[in-house]
Each structure stands twice: as C-alpha cells, then as structure tokens.
C-alpha cells in the first residue's frame, strides 16, 4: 500500500553566505526565532499538512542536524506509520561512495527510498526557508489541474523579480517558460523552490538526467527545462503569506526581526492551529531582574535579563547584565552580555561573551556578526 505523498527536504547545503554561523552546523540547523531552528518550519509545515513521511537529505555537517531531526518525535513524525528519515550521502554497492552533486542528483540517489513508499506524489522542499504553508492545499491544486509538476510561487515586486527564478505562466497558471534571474522579467511569479511532482514523472526525469554528462543535476536548471521542452503539464501555485529564504546573515537577521512585527508570521496561534514545533530545553523560566527594561522583544526560557533590551530576539540561556543595552539584535543560545556592554543591530553567535563595557556596532548601518568561529 503506497503513501499518497512523501516529502523530501533538501538540507545538505553548506550555507556559506551565513559565514561563521554555519562553520559547525548545516544551515537548516541554524537557530532562529528565539527557540527554533530553521528546519522546524518545513518539518512543522509537513506535520501540520498531514504529511507523515519526510526524508531529510544531508551532507554538510550532518551530525548535529541528524541528531536534531532524530526520528521526528519533535514533530509527531515518530508513529508506526510515519517516519522522518535522515538520508545522508553514502556509499552504496553498485555506485560506490558518492556525494550529492545537485538538488536533482540528491533526490535521484534516493529513488530506492521513494520506491519503498511507492508514493503518487513527491513534495520537494528546502530546509532553509521560513514560512507557514499548507502543502495539502497545494497538493489539491496539483491534483485538480492533473499536473506533472506544480511549482509554488510568490508574487514579488518587479524590482525583486530579477533576483529569483521566474515562472512565466498563462492565464490558467500553466507554466510555459522558466527564467533564472532574468534581467527583464516578464512575470513576477518567483519560484519558492517548493515542488510537487507526480512521482512517475519525477522518477523518469531524474533517471534521464542522471545519465546526462553536461547536466548540473539541478531542478531549476535541468529538470524543469527538460519537462517544459517535452510539453509536460507544469503549473504555478501561488502562495500568499510570509516567506523568506534565510540564506544570508542580513536575511537571517531580517527574518528574526520580522517575528516581532510581521502579522503573517505569527507564532502565537491567533489565526489558526499551525504550531511550529521545536525542541524543548530543560532551562528554567526566564528570570527578569529588578533593573530590566524589555520592549518589542522575544525572550525564551533560561534567559536572565537585567538590562535594557529592545527590538531583539533572545535565545535559550542568554544573559543580559544590569545596565547592558541590546538593540535590534539577535542573541543566539548561551550569549552573555556583561554589565554595561552595548549591542546594536547584530547577530551574536552561540556562547559568545560580550565583555563589560564592550560596544558592538554602535553606528548600526550593516548587520554585524560576532562569533567564536572563524569563517570567510
């Protein structure tokens, strides 16, 4: 008995543009929003969409990510008929030891995993996007259109469009052309890197692509163009809501800030029951001191705050000493801001100590990153 849909999360990239933040962990395992990690979002979306088999494809620094995902308990994916499976690049009998060469190749190397579940549809996700999305609605659209491939798109401004892969569509949202970062965009429907494939088609195109020597083995560059060339039925599915690719230090900072203000990205369940699940730490409740001033800020358990904090996000076990000042900043787990220190518009990486009297990024033009790790 096959599963209707299996989700595959691409979580193997190095995330070099996150600099020191990914020196020791994979991008999807980077901390976000006070108590989450980035991959909590696609995994929780899967759980909330009723998807119960999720493969997580890993390669770069896969240990912490793998042990974080574990068997999926945190997202309720550990039942007898559900699974969160870690799929690392690995050695196999016939092909030997091979790393993942591109997004499509990563899925192609796990065709046996997919075959075992015999799904009708496969959902391809990225492990590094922040958003709340009901994939079940997208699947309904895919089925309704009888599509071979449905690509989730976001309607961006014309100005931004040239930074994205753009889907040029007909009135019925069928896709007739795909342009990667076009200089003169014909449309503003940007691909979110979220695909639903009818598995038979996906399987066929992956097998064919694997044999092509000059392929990048990439969904955007190779698979979609090949399907378009064959006149397969490709449709866009427009997602409305908050979505952010947190690929850079700047965008990671911005997404954290958005948690404070954006009404779409609401974590307090005001609109509907769409919890983002995450790990729970053993920390005590946050202790707010006699001299604390906290405004427009997220603070999570284990924190001790006795200073002034505004417009910031404080992760587990952060301490802010008396008379210290933290403004528009993201303090990763275990950060200690000593008395009288000041931090402006910065991401402070795990376990960094900002010494008494130290002032970080006072002019606050760019986002500053302070880390114990070195990385170019």
């Amino acid at each position: 008995m096959g599963k209707e849909l299996v989700a595959m999360i691409l979580a193997g990239g190095r995330g070099s543009r996150l600099k020191a933040l990914t020196a020791k962990v994979a991008k999807p395992a980077v901390h976000f929003g006070g108590k989450y990690r980035i991959i909590d979002f696609p995994l929780s979306n899967c759980a909330n969409s009723g998807i119960d088999v999720v493969g997580v494809l890993t390669q770069y620094e896969s240990v912490e990510l793998g042990s974080y995902v574990g068997v999926g308990t945190k997202w309720g994916l550990d039942g007898n008929s559900s699974a969160a499976a870690i799929l690392p690049a690995r050695e196999r009998d016939e092909v030997g030891a091979t790393w993942y060469a591109g997004t499509a190749d990563a899925i192609a190397q796990n065709i046996e995993f997919l075959d075992a579940y015999d799904p009708e549809y496969v959902l391809i996700l990225s492990g590094d996007h922040i958003y709340k999305m009901d994939y079940d609605e997208m699947l309904a659209a895919h089925k309704e259109k009888g599509a071979d491939l449905t690509v989730a798109v976001l309607n961006v401004s014309m100005k931004e469009a040239s930074r994205f892969g753009i889907m040029n569509t007909n009135d019925d949202l069928s896709i007739y052309e795909f342009e990667e970062k076009p200089e003169k965009p014909k449309s503003t429907l940007a691909s979110m890197g979220i695909y639903i494939f009818t598995y038979k088609q996906l399987r066929k195109y992956l097998k064919a692509d694997a044999k092509k020597k000059d392929s990048h083995h990439d969904f955007g560059m190779d698979i979609i163009p090949a399907m378009l060339a064959d006149n397969k039925k490709l449709f866009a599915y427009e997602f409305k809501g908050y979505w952010k690719d947190v690929g850079t230090v700047e965008s990671l900072w911005q997404a954290n800030m958005d948690l404070l203000h954006d009404t779409e990205l609401d974590l307090y369940n005001i609109k509907k029951d769409w919890k983002i699940y995450s790990e729970d730490t053993l920390a005590k409740p946050q202790l707010i001191g006699l001299d604390a001033k906290i405004k427009n800020t997220l603070v999570t358990q284990g924190c001790m705050v006795d200073g002034e904090v505004e417009g910031s996000v404080l992760f587990n076990n952060v301490s802010v000493g008396a008379t210290a000042k933290v403004v528009d900043s993201v303090l990763m787990p275990g950060v200690l801001v000593e008395e009288g220190a000041e931090v402006y518009k910065a991401i402070i990486d795990e376990n960094v100590i900002i010494k008494a009297g130290q002032v970080i990024n006072k002019e606050a033009k760019e986002v500053a990153l302070v880390s114990n790790n070195d990385r170019g």
Partner: protein, 369 residues
C-alpha cells in the same frame, strides 16, 4: 550498583484551598512551567533511580495527564519508568487511604523489581536532593531505616506540623511534631530510606498495631526498638503545606540566591514539553523582578510576579506580586496585587484585585472576573 526503587508519597494532608480543589498538590503549577511533582521526580531521575512508583492518594486525573509521558523525566524506559500506584479500595475512605495501605496494595511493584533499597519521598517538599548520597550514608550507617532531616533556624515560621527529630550520634532518638514554638529544629523531610526487607516487615507490623497507622505513625512507634539512622540534608528545602506557604515559596524564588540554589546545571528539573513560542514583550511592556514562562504576550506592567505559559497581560494592566497560571488573561488596564490567578481565568479590565502578602486573593480556574 545497588538496586533502588523510588516511591513518591502523595499521601499527605496538604490542602492549598482552591488550588487543590480539583487536583492534588503534586500537579499544582509551580514557577509557571513545572508541576510541583517535577522536583521529586527529577531528583529520582538525576540520582539514577529509574524505577519510580507514585503513591496516589486522590484526584488522579490531573496526574494521569501530567505523567502520561513518563519519559519527560528521563527515566530509562528499558530499566524502569514511572508507575502510578493507586488504592482504589480506600480512595473514598480517608482513614484507610494512607501510604501503608497503598504500598501493601501495590506490593507487587516492589516485589517485581527486587530492590535493595526503597526511597520514599513526598512531592510537596521542594528539594534538589541527591538520593544516591543519602543511600550511601544509609548503607554506611548499618541501619535498616534512615530518615532525612534538615536543620532549620526558622521552625517557628515554616514546617509547622511537620515532624522534627532528636538526633544523637546520627541516630534518631525521638520524633515529635513541630509546633512552631522553637526556632532551631531538625525537621524531617518525610524522606525515608529502607532496606527493602525492613520496609515490608515494618508495614506488616504497622497493620498489626493499627490499620489506621501511616508511615509517620509507625516510625514513631518503632523508634524505641529499632535503630533509625538520621541523615542530614544540607541543601535547599521548602515545604508547601498551605495556600499561603505556596505563595511565599513561589515568591522566594524571585530571590536569585534561592533560584540559583535550585536550578543547577548538573541537576536539571525535567517537565513536559509544551511547544510554546518564546514570550513576546510588546512596546508597552514594563517587566521587572519576575519569572516568565514561554508563550506569554506582555504589554503591561509586571513586577514581583510569576507568569505562566501563554499568559496574556494587556496594555495598561498593572500586575504586582502575583502568580498568574498558564493560559490566564489579564486584560488591558486591570490592576492586580497579591493575587493567584488559576489556569485559563480571565481578568477583565474593569477589575482591581488586591490581596495581601499574607492572604493573597485567589481566582479559580477558568473564572471570568
């Protein structure tokens, strides 16, 4: 390593007024995030005691819920876990519903595990006790029974009604009730260590003497014939034996010296996961001197408080020296002082509620006032 079974003894007559109307003391919320029983369970877990039975006296439902995932306390599921022990027969018969009858009714739990020692400890006395050290001292003493005590200097203010010990050369000479007339006392923490055989013998003896006898009674009774070792515990201990004591103990944790003594890196306090987001401080938030759990949304003025999970404090609200349980809502412009607001209650903005530090007001679970 010696094999040990732990028993959490919920057979105490502690009454916290409204807080314990529908739940036992064990599952009353503590510091916004815990249940009171989490402390003794974490102590067992951190002491590597994996087989734990809970002697339930009454109102089992909220315990079922809190304990439904025994794994939260990190008991090794392959070596033990949490077992609920309930004496249905006497649940509605207060005179017979005591710890001895419960243990005897559930003696199979002990027999099956064949422990060398049994540690019995209550939930309503908050400690971070390493039972393995107490067991070591017990074994070295050569006694078959040990009582854990703590020397306190304010026995006129706290632990009133608890037992105190007279100790000589590490041996209990007498057990008596603390009437609060003397400041310095060696107070029994109601934590007992037994060689298993001695425990079973003692329970049977108790039944012969009087079927109304509970553990405290029989220990006093046999004191003359048996050597009972006294083990001094020097760490933090606080008793929650009344509504007022609950309020004071909670407030005392706002003192950083107290909370640092209890929340130690090598002694985690385990509890259930709740999947709540971080707490959100909005632009009018003004919070000092408070414990705040996750998931709260605060836009008012808060000081000297314990704020539970998913509490909301509206703009202009002023909340002082109060304990707000999870899910409660303090609407805009409400004013509270010295109040305990139980789960999911709602305080409307027109209200101004003031109790005193000695007699805090209480708002019932789910009430709208």
């Amino acid at each position: 390593m010696a094999k040990v079974v732990g028993l959490v003894n919920l057979h105490s007559n502690v009454d916290l007024k409204g807080l314990t109307e529908r739940r036992p003391v064990a599952s009353v919320s503590f510091l916004g995030r815990y249940g009171i029983i989490d402390f003794v369970l974490s102590n067992f877990s951190n002491s590597q005691i994996d087989n734990v039975g809970i002697l339930i006296k009454e109102k089992p439902r909220s315990l079922f819920k809190h304990l439904s995932n025994g794994n939260a306390w990190n008991f090794n599921s392959k070596r033990g876990g949490v077992q609920l022990l309930y004496d249905e027969k006497f649940a509605n018969n207060n005179m017979y519903n005591h710890d001895i009858n419960n243990i005897l009714e559930n003696i199979a739990f002990i027999e099956k595990n064949k422990p060398d020692y049994v540690v019995i400890s209550p939930a309503h006395i908050i400690t971070t006790m390493d039972f393995s050290e107490a067991i070591k001292a017990h074994r070295q003493s050569g006694a078959e029974i040990s009582i854990v005590y703590k020397k306190i200097k304010n026995a006129n203010e706290t632990f009133i009604g608890s037992d105190f010990l007279k100790v000589k050369d590490g041996v209990v000479q007498a057990i008596d009730k603390n009437k609060g007339n003397i400041k310095n006392r060696a107070i029994s923490l109601e934590t007992y260590i037994f060689n298993t055989k001695a425990l079973i013998k003692l329970l049977k003896e108790a039944q012969k003497v009087s079927t109304f006898f509970d553990l405290r009674d029989i220990l006093s009774y046999v004191l003359d014939e048996k050597k009972i070792n006294a083990y001094e515990f020097k760490g933090f201990a606080a008793i929650i034996d009344s509504f007022e004591a609950y309020f004071k103990v909670c407030q005392s944790f706002l003192n950083i010296d107290v909370s640092t003594k209890v929340f130690k890196n090598n002694w985690p306090i385990f509890t259930n996961t709740n999947d709540t987001p971080p707490t959100k401080y909005l632009k009018n938030a003004d919070v000092q001197n408070s414990f705040v759990a996750n998931g709260a949304v605060i836009d008012g003025t808060v000081s000297g408080c314990i704020i539970g999970r998913e509490v909301s404090i509206g703009k202009g609200a002023v909340v002082k020296n109060s304990i707000i349980f999870s899910g409660a809502k303090v609407e805009a412009d409400a004013v509270l002082e010295n109040v305990i607001v139980d789960k999911d209650a709602r305080i409307k903005k027109i209200k101004e509620l003031k109790g005193s530090a000695d007699e805090p007001l209480y708002v019932k679970e789910g009430d709208v006032v």
